[in-house]
């Protein structure tokens, strides 16, 4: 059975994506759509293939077949580092901060696609390279302030508590001002209080931004998502509003199966 919702112009969609890694079928005919201006959830037990979906969208994994569409346009040759130019930013599962750069420097690098000056201008320290970096710095600080981490700007990631690191990573994704934000387990390893903050934050971005959220914490998912796709063993097994998905027997079975295995 295939779950295809009648989505009118999804801002981002995958069409029949199949991925094989090391001889294993990781994604099998995955078609999901993310309606513009929504928070859309992508859930499923561990190893279901959620991160792999992100990796396909962001060009780290080449699918055997299928395509990615942004605003209805098919993407050819996706280069991970050019994703932000398309208005898409993602976070990595875990943290993925650069350990030798300060929090502010980390966040500034998230705006790399805005930097126009080349290496020769940098090598000669042309004045406009300073202007460019000063602007980026201001943007980065503004977003860090929004996320409540501006006081940690000059700290190295290793000196920061895990939840703060997650926020800095989120700030790095936001600084490119993405239309579409792919969040891979943003609530992993954070407290209930931080999770409430995160829920508020995510909801404050829509409808300006569209969010695709991979998350294990069901409370968070059910609270913030307008639409949820459920993945199990590389296949879409259910889709719908939180109320519908919550009661879907296939979803319950998939999650129970995981609990049974764990």
């Amino acid at each position: 059975m295939r779950y295809v919702l009648p989505l009118t112009d999804p801002v981002l969609s995958t069409r029949s994506i199949c991925v094989t890694l090391s001889g294993l079928r990781i994604l099998d005919d995955v078609s999901i759509g993310i309606p513009k201006g929504t928070v859309t959830g992508l859930i499923g037990p561990n190893g279901a293939g959620k991160t792999t979906v992100f990796n396909v969208i962001s060009g780290f994994v080449k699918p055997d077949s299928g395509e990615i569409r942004v605003d209805g346009r098919k993407l050819k040759h996706i280069h991970p580092h050019r994703l932000t130019e398309l208005g898409i930013a993602r976070t990595l599962q875990g943290v993925g901060l650069f350990p030798s750069l300060t929090a502010l420097e980390n966040v500034m690098l998230g705006g790399s696609s805005r930097v126009k000056s080349g290496i020769i201008a940098q090598a000669l320290a042309m004045p406009w390279t300073d202007t460019e970096q000063a602007d980026l710095r201001e943007r980065a600080l503004a977003i860090m302030t929004e996320l409540g981490v501006e006081s940690d700007a000059s700290r190295l990631p290793g000196e920061l508590p895990y939840p703060i690191q997650k926020r800095v990573a989120l700030a790095r994704a936001l600084v490119s001002d993405p239309k579409i934000l792919l969040l891979d387990e943003p609530a992993g390893g954070i407290s209930a209080g931080d999770m409430a903050d995160l829920a508020r934050l995510i909801m404050s971005w829509v409808p300006k931004r569209t969010v695709l959220l991979v998350e294990h914490h069901m409370e968070l998912v059910m609270k913030v998502c307008d639409l949820i796709w459920v993945l199990d063993a590389g296949k879409v097994i259910a889709a719908g509003t939180p109320e519908v998905v919550r009661q879907d027997p296939a979803v319950l079975a998939a999650y129970l199966g995981q609990e049974g295995a764990a």
Binding site: F98, L101, L109, A125, M126, T129, S154, R172
Partner: protein, 427 residues
């Protein structure tokens, strides 16, 4: 330093001012010391230039290079061949001079760096080490393939400084015949490896002469005769017949050191701009986590290639300076020993700091001399004296890697950080 000034052009102004002050001070120092000290200053500046590139390549972008000596060879040979063969600048048609050769050496370095970097960006640790090791061994050997153009094993003699009015047209061959025995007695007193100082490729592989290769190539014998100013205006001034064009107070070592200092300062300016700006962050980001860098919108491949190109530019400039310090280019001068000593210098000095490059340069020049002086006091045999620096380098590298991975500068920064309880900033 950067946080004090925040106007467009602040980096340009502060870095330029800093470098000019250093240039001025070191030039003053250079003018006040004897020719042997000039010679050492020249070597330190030359090593520092090459090691700015090593800091960027190894320290910041995280790519190991065992082959930057070969990139120096590119600069050295481009310098030598263009200055010997070209009388006018292509397209512009103006008369050639040594600075043009430097520019072409720099361009040659960038081009080769882009090529190698393009391959290197696809390789990981051990394969990259293998590739660059291959360069270190293979590139100097190219000279033997083209003895007509590149002078073969015995290399090419240069007139330093670049002769006024240029070299004679190519028909009157300037380079020496392939057998070292044909060097005249006069020529063998020049700052050129004499037959016994020249290193055969086999020797280099066993590294018997590492890293004194360079020092011995440059100063045939470091004994009192070199300090004697009479013996020091040896570097090809007479050979070229331009001796009478140069006034009596001209000290070739001082001129060479001045050149090396100037080039090192230009390189330092560029390196500071890159390392202390966005590009430095980009390099460190790619080194730390290339997946996260890509997600942030940085092309890891481009960053790695650019690090190679910049490091190759600096290596080529250092090679062109080295050619002028030696008044010579030859495969022995740019052997594996040179490549390895660059790596040793940058590890010891501190691989993520430009200051570390300078300290590494000082160490590379000072340590062999220090060992030599010990040997003279202790009456060691040649066998021990020649190998002691290698042993000490080996021990130091092992100690530094185990105990103080940040090298000298890194350790000092850690100490300061401990005292002031602040994060070590790096660079």
């Amino acid at each position: 330093m950067t946080s004090l000034l925040r106007f467009p052009g602040a980096r340009l102004v502060s870095h330029a001012a800093f470098v000019i002050i250093i240039w001025f001070l070191v030039m003053r120092l250079n003018d006040s010391v004897d020719p042997l000290a000039n010679y050492y200053i020249a070597l330190v500046a030359m090593y520092a230039t090459a090691m700015f590139g090593m800091v960027i390549l190894v320290g910041l972008s995280g790519q190991v290079s065992l082959g930057n000596g070969a990139l120096m060879a590119v600069g050295g040979y481009v310098f030598a061949v263009t200055s010997l063969h070209w009388q006018t600048v292509p397209i512009l048609g103006v008369p050639w001079n040594g600075w043009w050769s430097m520019v072409f050496a720099a361009v040659g370095g960038i081009v080769v760096g882009l090529l190698i970097g393009g391959i290197a960006a696809r390789l990981r640790g051990p394969y990259l080490a293998g590739l660059t090791l291959g360069l270190a061994v293979g590139v100097p050997a190219i000279a033997n393939r083209f003895p007509e153009l590149l002078g073969g094993e015995s290399g090419l003699m240069l007139t330093v400084p670049y002769p006024e009015g240029g070299y004679a047209p190519v028909e009157e061959e300037v380079f020496v015949d392939s057998s070292a025995d044909t060097l005249s007695g006069d020529a063998s007193t020049m700052a050129v490896p004499s037959a016994d100082a020249a290193v055969s490729p086999d020797d280099m592989l066993t590294m018997d002469n590492f890293p004194t290769t360079d020092a011995s190539a440059a100063v045939p014998s470091v004994d009192a005769s070199v300090i004697d100013p009479g013996a020091t205006d040896m570097s090809g001034v007479d050979l070229s017949g331009t001796g009478d064009l140069i006034d009596a107070s001209f000290i070739i070592e001082r001129w060479q050191a001045g050149l090396a200092i100037t080039v090192a300062c230009i390189a330092a300016f560029i390196a500071l701009n890159l390392v202390r700006g966005r590009q430095g962050r980009v390099w460190r980001a790619v080194r730390d986590d290339s997946v996260a860098a890509a997600v942030a919108g940085i092309s890891p491949a481009k960053a790695k290639v650019s690090a190679f190109a910049v490091s190759s530019l600096f290596a080529a400039l250092a090679g062109a300076v080295f050619a002028q310090i030696l008044s010579y280019v030859g495969p022995g001068a740019f052997g594996l020993g040179l490549s390895l000593s660059l790596l040793v210098g940058v590890v010891l000095g501190g691989r993520s700091s430009l200051l570390g490059a300078v300290i590494g340069g000082l160490l590379l020049v000072w340590l062999p001399e220090f060992v030599l002086s010990l040997s003279e006091k202790g009456g060691w045999g040649d066998q021990i004296t020649n190998n002691a620096p290698n042993l000490i380098y080996g021990l130091l590298v092992v100690l530094v890697v185990l105990l103080a991975p940040g090298g000298i500068v890194g350790s000092v920064q850690m100490l300061i950080a401990k005292v002031t309880r602040r994060a070590p900033k790096g660079v």
